[in-house]
Amino acid sequence: MNKTLIVAKRDYLAAIRSKPFLVGLIVVPLMGGSGFIGIGLMKAKPDIRERRVAIVDRTGVTAESIISSAQEKNAKDLFDKKTGRQLTPRYVFETIAPDDSAPDTQRLTLSDRVRGHQLFAFIEVGHDALHPPAPDDSGAIPQSGRVDYYSNAGGVDETREWLDGPINDGLRRARLTKLGVDPARFTDALAVVRVQSMSLLSRDEQTGAIQTARKKSELEGFIVPFALVMLLFMIVLTSSTSMLSAVAEDKMQRVYEMLLASASPFDLIMGKVVAAVALSLTSSVLYIAAGLFVLSSLALTGMMPPSLIAWFVIYLVADMMVLAALSAAMGSACASPNDAQHLAIVLIMPALIPIFVMMPVMQDPNSTFSTVMSLIPPFTPILMLLRQASPTGIPAWQPFAGLFGIILWTLAVTWAAARIFRIAILIQGKTASIPQLFRWAVRG
């Protein structure tokens, strides 16, 4: 058997039987899906305690409309129509007469009531809110033209979002009243129309018939790309960081000198890379099978076309090869597993950049920024996959251009890693610096 494969077989079997791999199989989806799990838990057990909100209405005519609109929303949203279970908190309102002589004192008093948990929040409707003035040159709207919301809730405050509809609805009702519209016609005049996302139409190549558009859920545009990318990121990251520590530990145990007498550094590093790729494919097969099972049970298999899975595998292999080679090189340059943990951040940083820019790329997959970023080889696996998975789609040549770049990148990194590995693996007692690693890679 080829020496690379002999090393790969040993490393693969050693890793797959280890506890860290089995623990990682469970931890990876937990880490990737922790946000969804949190949302799920919150939905399963929502906070339904009553929330009292005070309204200081400086227009003098709006509070009643806002409260009326809010009560309608309360009645509509409060209970699950099928089970009768309460889903959202009941909002209770308290109208406060405005104190124009000392507005700040009044705000402070109300703030203290919020701090004392007598109120959840209070809102102040500016006296020009019915007819807000145009923004000034800086784009700011004066306080008199706004509705200010005061609370000590965190950054994501569902009450503020909940109130947005009733407040604007209330203001519109007040305006219609001033215009002399019959209140009985308000519901009809202010009816909200749903905007439905639809897929594009296409013609069936065999029958020539026009295929009707289908409804797209918002989840479809988000969950598949997000889940695939997070899966790729987590698998690659956990595999490569554990490899970094394993190589450093084996170096400390001095296992490599004897191996180097039997196999070349390139055989050794490629064996490790192949084992890491095989390991990541093993775990991803399990995850993808589980994902397809869930989608098929929800009759949503179309959300994950086979071509997307094929690209996922290609990017996983490419990304794993690069990071595994870098891990082996950096692990070989460490004096101890502790040093390897410090160096892990250097390994992780390039992998994190695509995660930082995920949102703008998902919002506009075909922008110049998204295209350019996804064609930079270290970022290609995550960003190109993200763009390909988006419902918008991308030009067909781009994945292949990205693939060409990443093949070159993979070859270059593996070659450099083998040069570093050969020098660093026998140096004991001192961890190499990053500039030193570059020197070894360049000069050999």
């Binding site: 001095r254 296992v255 000198e257 004897m258 191996l259 180097l260 007498a261 039997s262 196999a263």
Partner: protein, 322 residues
Amino acid sequence: MGNWDCYHRPMHAVETRALTKTFGDLTAVDDLSLTVPQGSVYGFIGPNGSGKTTTMRMLVNIFYPDRGSIAVFGEDSRAVPSGTIGYLPEERGLYRRMNVKPLLEFHAELRGGRNAGPEIDRWLERFGLAQFANKRVDTLSKGMSQKVQFIAAVVPEPKLLILDEPFTGLDPVSTDVLRESILELRRRGASIILSTHDMGVAESMCDYILMIYRGRKVLDGTLDAIQEQYGNDTLRVAAANDDCAGLPGVEKVRDLGQIRELRMTRGCDPQDVLRALIARTRVTSFSVAKPSLHDIFVRIAGPEAAESSPPKAIAAQGGSHE
């Protein structure tokens, strides 16, 4: 005459020419030429840091020389199949979480050995490790691990075995088992290169001895030939009185406990020394001898020599293997 290459010269196990290796400003091995005859035990001696391990690493292609050439059984060392050479490094290390037998099978496979199971079993039996075949390496004692690593170096059986300080850390019983195993491999035709700090091992086991000092070869030949270079300049004396200092013609006295070793100056007559000694004390034993390897080592690399520039290579006359 053994094997002959196309130039009708005997094919040696190893032949290096002007081997040089530098690390930054340090020249670890400097212009080293050596010849290891097939079927011999060839000992590397020299102080720590003199270049023995670097030379061995070059022989097994872990390091590549900056200059010079290495031929193993007449071929460029880089073209030699890895199964030809068995290597036991000075820095012992094995995958600690693997079981003993799968680990040995992995090493054997990497060295080109197929179906090495029975051979591994024989070695485990020989070293008394058969019951540990399915135990993890990290459950073994240091000595046992060292024996396992030796087995990894000799399965499949190599034509050339390179051992970097193989006896370090072993108890006398294990040392005997290992020594006997090495000599048996030699009897079966293997060529052995070993490094050692134990001059007794070098004297008793090695057909040829090479001493490297500061990266350069300073001794090379059979023990007899090396000792011949120094002549019979050593006196071994047992006497009632310990005081041998200041004897005429004696430049150095080494106290070995029961006896003293006296080094004579060139041209000194042992009879003169004996007469002076008898005048001082009662002599119970007196012999004229060649210097021991230990003494030669110290003369070359001891504190006095270390202050001077490295001595030139002493080519062994007689018994030369070239």
